[in-house]
Structure formats: structure tokens, C-alpha cells
């Protein structure tokens, strides 16, 4: 395993998203002096994804502000950046990756940060022009251009991405109809109270929803999408359709190399695969989290990718401990902010704290008396305190959470026992 001393082939990172970039940057920050190669399949310099569905789509920031770092950073930090190249194969016996161009790059340690890709609906008409996705830069550029002239937007899937898109489209005065299979927004990640608040906020800006609705097919004219046909017989006019029904982990490269995959590349609490020379991080990694009731988990978040990267970089520098960072997430939808600390899957009880009328409150999610996570709606202070509390493993009882005279700040800022 490489350490701070000079080694031969060094560290190769497959995937130049948040996790891959952070891994390369952290190795250099810690003084690693072997070679570091960062391979990405997109043509651009590594860039930040969260602003794609927010300020970048909205035209508020330019491409240079989207980049993780300017080009000079990679030269100065001796990070060999390979862009626009896909890795075709991992040769574990030879400790090398093989690019689609057949070029071989050897490694001492390989980090898979391959991310995830859009889930595509196997529907008739899905190939029509005007059916779009919002995950990478190229898709966002395309969408931005189409949104400027769109007349009717239909969003399939009421998750973070679909809702963030809807808020921007409404901001531009476009009619937006969201079709969702289940009965509420963001059902996979937030409690029903939070779903209701966000659905109301979107309705207030003019977004239309069809819940419990299944798309049957996309209809078109001359190869361009013109409408979305639902199974209940309705037909929604649409010249721009956003498919935002989640993502799938890019695990095929690992699987083809004989590594275990199951909803992601299977790794230990050290984020190591069964091969001691291969780690996996970020959206593509299925790992045990001490913050989850149910394990393993696979998380799609910037925090997860960058904290995974820091953990693996530490390990490669010989300072490794198990991964233990607290998961947190955020979404900005028009004027509404959602911040989540912890993993709430498996909660049985929700305590609301704050001003629900005004839409500034937090939902404390419990399993028994155990605080799993806190969803903060337009309440950033609660989120900051929630992160401190949960990271330190300190609880707040449901009674305390419900009591507005309970000092959450004091509890969060208290020194660990």
C-alpha cells in the first residue's frame, strides 16, 4: 500500500466527480508524493454537480464558477488528469486499468469513484427529442437551452432533481406538471409532513401535481415529444420532459473484475473492496454506516462522496480508521430550503419543532427514543445543531424536541462527555 514515501505506480482514481477529485486533492494535501492519476469520462475539468440543478440551470453562475478548481491546480498539485476517457477494464492481477483506447495505467492502489447514472424508463417514446435528464454538465447545457423556449414542461418523478427543476422552470414562467408514482414528493427521503410542506410550496407557485400516476408512453410528432400519456387515460401536453426517477450505481466495471456488487460496489467500513488494492467511494459504494439502522447503505450526496474520499486518503497515508462521518443532504427549491442531517430510514415517530405555519421548522425523526435524523425546513440553525448533535452521538428526547423552551443550541454546543 502506498504511503507518504515514493512509490511506483501510485494511486489511480476512476471517476472525476466530487469523490474522485477530493481523493486526489486530499492525497496531495496530506503530502502524498507518489503519482496520482484522475480519470474522468466527461470532457471538462472536474466540476460541482449540485449547482447544475440550481444556479447553473438558472443562469446565475457561469462555467468557471462550476469548476472544482482551475486547470492550473492540477498541474501545481501534480494530479495527472485524464478527461474524456472511459475505463474499459480492471486488470486486477496486473494491477492496471485499461482505457477504451487500450492504454494501460498501472496502480498501487485503485479507487473506484464511478458514481451513478440516470435511471431510464423503458417506455415507448423515451427516445423522442425533448426528453431530457439532469445529472451531468452536457445534459444541463442541453436542458438550459430547451427550457428557454419550452411551452409545457412535464417532470416524471418528484425527487430532489425534479422539484429543483420545477422551481426554476416556474421562475421562468413555464407551466410545469409533475407526475409521481407514489402519493407524495421526496417520499424516499423525507417524512410525510415535509413532503406536504414542499408540495404546498410548489403548488403555491403554480406547479401542478399528479400523484399515484403512472406514465404509459410518451407521444410525439416528427420525432419530437408532444405529450405524456398517463395510464389513467389523461394526456399532458409536453414539449420538454424531464425524467428524474433516480439513478443506478456504476458498478459494472467492478463486477466485471469479479468484485462483489449489490446495489453498488460492496465495501467494508474502511471503504475497501475484497481486493486490498481497490477501494470504492461515493455514489457507487455500498457500505456499512454507523448512522444507519439498516446496513449496508448507498448514498447519493456530495457530503458522502467527499467524506469517503477523505477517509480513503487518510488510510492510504497510513492514518486510517473506519468511515464514520455523519450523512447530510440539502435541496433548494425556489425560496424553500431543505437540510437533512442523519439517516431517517426506519423512523417510527416524528416530532415537529418550530413555526409550521410560517414554514420554518424541523422534523425530528425517531425509532423508539433513538434520534435518527432531523429534517430542517427553512431553519438552518436547527440543521447546524442537528449535525453537531448527531455526529457526537448525542440524543435529544422526543419530549425535549417538542418543548420550545428546550435549548437546542446549548445541547448542541455542549462539550462532549
Amino acid at each position: 500500500m502506498p504511503s507518504g514515501s515514493m512509490s511506483g505506480a501510485g494511486v489511480v482514481v476512476v471517476g472525476a466527480g466530487h469523490g474522485g477529485f477530493q481523493l486526489a486533492a486530499s492525497l496531495r494535501q496530506h503530502g502524498y508524493d507518489g503519482s496520482v492519476t484522475l480519470i474522468g469520462d466527461e470532457p471538462s475539468l472536474p466540476y460541482q454537480r449540485p449547482p447544475l440543478s440550481k444556479d447553473y440551470l438558472n443562469g446565475k453562475i457561469s462555467l468557471d464558477l462550476l469548476l472544482m478548481r482551475p486547470e492550473a491546480f492540477f498541474n501545481e498539485h501534480r494530479i495527472e488528469l485524464v478527461t474524456g476517457r472511459a475505463v474499459a477494464e480492471i486488470d486486477r492481477a496486473g494491477k492496471a486499468v485499461v482505457l477504451s483506447s487500450k492504454a494501460r495505467i498501472e496502480y498501487d492502489h485503485l479507487v473506484l469513484a464511478t458514481g451513478a447514472r440516470n435511471r431510464v424508463l423503458p417506455l415507448p417514446g423515451i427516445e423522442l427529442d425533448g426528453v431530457c435528464y439532469l445529472r451531468n454538465l452536457a445534459e444541463t447545457e442541453d436542458l438550459k437551452e430547451r427550457l428557454a423556449t419550452a411551452q409545457h414542461c412535464v417532470v416524471i418523478g418528484a425527487g430532489f432533481i425534479g422539484l429543483e427543476f420545477a422551481a426554476i422552470a416556474r421562475g421562468k414562467g413555464k407551466p410545469v406538471h409533475i407526475v409521481e408514482l407514489v402519493d407524495r414528493v421526496m417520499a424516499r427521503v423525507v417524512c410525510p409532513d415535509t413532503s406536504a410542506h414542499f408540495a404546498d410550496a410548489h403548488r403555491a407557485t403554480g406547479v401542478e401535481f399528479s400523484f399515484g400516476a403512472r406514465v404509459e408512453r410518451l407521444g410525439g410528432d416528427g420525432g419530437r415529444v408532444t405529450h405524456v400519456a398517463l395510464q389513467d387515460g389523461r394526456s399532458l401536453p409536453a414539449d420538454l420532459v424531464i425524467v428524474s426517477i433516480g439513478v443506478m450505481p456504476n458498478e459494472e466495471l467492478a463486477a466485471a473484475a469479479g468484485l462483489a456488487v449489490e446495489n453498488g460496489i460492496v465495501v467494508s467500513e474502511y471503504l475497501l473492496t475484497a481486493d486490498p488494492n481497490i477501494s470504492a467511494i461515493g455514489d457507487c459504494a455500498s457500505f456499512p454506516s454507523r448512522h444507519s439502522l439498516k446496513n449496508p447503505v448507498r448514498l447519493e450526496a456530495v457530503q458522502n462522496a467527499t467524506d469517503h474520499a477523505r477517509c480513503v486518503a487518510d488510510r492510504l497515508m497510513g492514518k486510517g480508521g473506519p468511515y464514520s462521518a455523519l450523512p447530510w443532504f440539502w435541496s433548494e427549491q425556489g425560496a424553500q430550503r431543505l437540510q437533512i442531517a442523519g439517516l431517517t430510514t426506519g423512523y417510527q415517530q416524528v416530532v415537529l419543532r418550530g413555526d409550521c405555519e410560517k414554514g420554518e421548522y424541523s422534523a425530528f425523526c425517531y425509532a423508539g427514543d433513538k434520534l435518527l435524523g432531523i429534517e430542517s425546513i427553512n431553519k438552518p440553525a436547527d440543521h447546524a445543531f442537528a449535525r453537531r448533535l448527531l455526529a457526537a452521538g448525542r440524543g435529544v428526547t422526543p419530549q425535549e424536541a417538542a418543548d420550545m423552551s428546550f435549548d437546542l443550541r446549548a445541547a448542541a454546543m455542549a462539550r462532549p462527555n
Binding site: Q29, P51, R69, Q303, W330, A384, A412
Partner: protein, 107 residues
């Protein structure tokens, strides 16, 4: 164009010209100044662009909003009276010459 000087934890100083309307965080990231992480991209969500503002410039900065105030409590390096999140410091002509010190760690 107004300038900003970033002083790293080990004392290295970098001075940049920062256009009015650009944040102190954005300029640092654009020029690859070490010590500003800005994990959330400037949404005031992560407190990894924490800086200490030199005393004489404090009164020239935009007022701190509740969100920034809260996130500073969660910063990795302990907050001080002159702590700010640099993503919230959008340049104005009055801020010309601003000097900020970087904390020991952002994460």
C-alpha cells in the same frame, strides 16, 4: 478592481483582484487558493469556506444573516467573533483591501 488578501494558516499570503459582485469564496476557488473548500458550492450549507476577517474590515462587510450565523456554529475550526463564511461576502467597492485569515481546517 477591489482586491482581497488571503492568508493561509501557515502564513502564506495571496492577493487577488476580485470583481464587484463576486464572492470572496468564489474568487479563492477560481484561483485555486488553498484553505477554502466550499463543498456546497456557495449555498451557505456547509461552513467549509470559513474565514477570519481582520478587525478593520468587519464594519465594511454585508450583514450576517441567520443561516450564516447558524452554520458558523458548526464550523470545523472553532468560531471567533470575526468569523464569516466567505461565500456570503460578495465584493463591494468598500471592501477593497480586505484581508482574511484562513482557519487551521475546514473539514
Amino acid at each position: 478592481m477591489p482586491s482581497v488578501t488571503y492568508v493561509s494558516y501557515d502564513g502564506k499570503s495571496t492577493t487577488l483582484d476580485v470583481p464587484v459582485g463576486t464572492s470572496v469564496m468564489q474568487a479563492a476557488v477560481l484561483h485555486g487558493v488553498d484553505g477554502i473548500v466550499a463543498e456546497c458550492g456557495g449555498s451557505c450549507m456547509c461552513a467549509t469556506c470559513h474565514v477570519f476577517v481582520r478587525e478593520e474590515y468587519l464594519s465594511k462587510l454585508p450583514e450576517m444573516e441567520l443561516g450564516e450565523d447558524a452554520m458558523l456554529d458548526g464550523a470545523a475550526s472553532p468560531r471567533r467573533p470575526n468569523s464569516r463564511l466567505s461565500c456570503q461576502l460578495v465584493m463591494t467597492p468598500a471592501m477593497d483591501g480586505l484581508v482574511v485569515d484562513m482557519p487551521e481546517t475546514q473539514t
